[in-house]
C-alpha cells in the first residue's frame, strides 16, 4: 500500500506507537533519556496544547484540550519536582493579597513615584512595560 511520510517532531503519549502500528503506520522515534531534552519537549508541547485550547470551536473541544493541557502540565510539574499543593498555597496567598480577576479590571497605564516599589518593579521589566507616554520630559 502506498504510504506518505509526515514530519511529527513532537512528544507523544505512551500508547501512540503501538496504536499507530495497528493502523499500518511506521513511526520513527527516540526515547528522551536526558532530562533537559525532555523538559524542552514538554515546554514545546505545553505551548502547543495551549494554542489548541484557543483553537477549539465547541465547549466539548475546549474541555478536551484543557484536559490535555492539564496532563502535560502534570508531567512538567513532576519532572521539575513541584507539588500541586505548594502551587495551591502560593496561589491562595496571592489571591488573598491581590485578589483574583473577577472585577474585570483592565489596567491601561500607571504613574509611579520614582521612590515606589512599583517604579522599581516596572523599571526592571521595561521591555514588557515600555512606555511611549514618557514624552513630557
Amino acid at each position: 500500500m502506498k504510504k506518505a511520510r509526515f514530519e511529527l517532531e513532537t512528544l507523544s503519549r505512551d500508547n501512540f506507537i503501538e496504536q499507530s502500528q495497528k493502523n499500518g503506520c511506521d513511526v520513527t522515534y527516540h526515547t528522551l533519556e536526558d532530562d533537559e531534552e525532555f523538559l524542552d519537549a514538554l515546554t514545546q508541547k505545553i505551548v502547543e496544547e495551549l494554542e489548541q485550547v484557543f483553537d477549539a470551536n465547541t465547549k466539548e473541544e475546549v474541555i478536551e484540550e484543557l484536559a490535555d493541557l492539564d496532563e502535560i502540565l502534570i508531567t512538567f510539574k513532576s519532572l521539575v519536582g513541584i507539588e500541586q499543593k505548594d502551587i495551591d498555597t502560593a496561589r491562595l496567598k496571592k489571591l488573598a493579597e491581590l485578589g483574583g480577576f473577577k472585577k474585570r479590571i483592565y489596567a491601561e497605564h500607571i504613574e509611579t513615584p520614582v521612590n515606589s516599589k512599583e517604579y522599581q518593579y516596572y523599571s526592571e521589566k521595561v521591555d514588557q512595560y515600555e512606555n511611549p507616554l514618557n514624552d513630557d520630559e
Binding site: 511520510r5 517532531e9 505512551d14 499500518g24 513511526v27 489596567a107 513615584p113
Partner: protein
Amino acid sequence: MTKKKFLLDKLGRDKAIELFKNDNCDIKFHVIESNEEYLEAITKKIFEELEEVLACTSQAQLIEELGDLDEILDALKKLTKIDQAAINESRKNKREKKGGFEKRIYLHYADAPEGSWMYNYCLENPEKYPEIVDEIELP
C-alpha cells in the same frame, strides 16, 4: 514628586487599583463590560503567564508563576462555564486510552498508508505535520 509612566495594557487583579493608590501611584483603567473583551484579555494573560513560567530561574519562582497560571486558567474556566470535574474526567479517559507521557517518546516522522487515520489527520494539519516529499522524484 517625580512620577514615571508605564504602559500596562492588561488584566489587573481585583485589589490592584487599591494597592497602587496606597503607594501613591495613579492608575488609568477601565472595567471590561463585554464577555468577548474579557475573554480576549484572559487569553492574552494566559500566554503571558506561561511565558513567565518558562522564564523562571528558581524553584520558588516557578511555584509562584505556576500559581498565577492556575489562577488565570481558573478565570477562563469560570467565564466559559467549564467545570474542573469535566476536565478531570476527560483527562482520565484519554489517559486510559492513550497513556500519559511517562515513556518520554519523541516522534520524528511517520509513514502512513493513504486513507489511514494518521494520513488524514496529518493532511488536515499541514502546518504542524507537513508531508515530507523527496526532493528528487525518480521516474
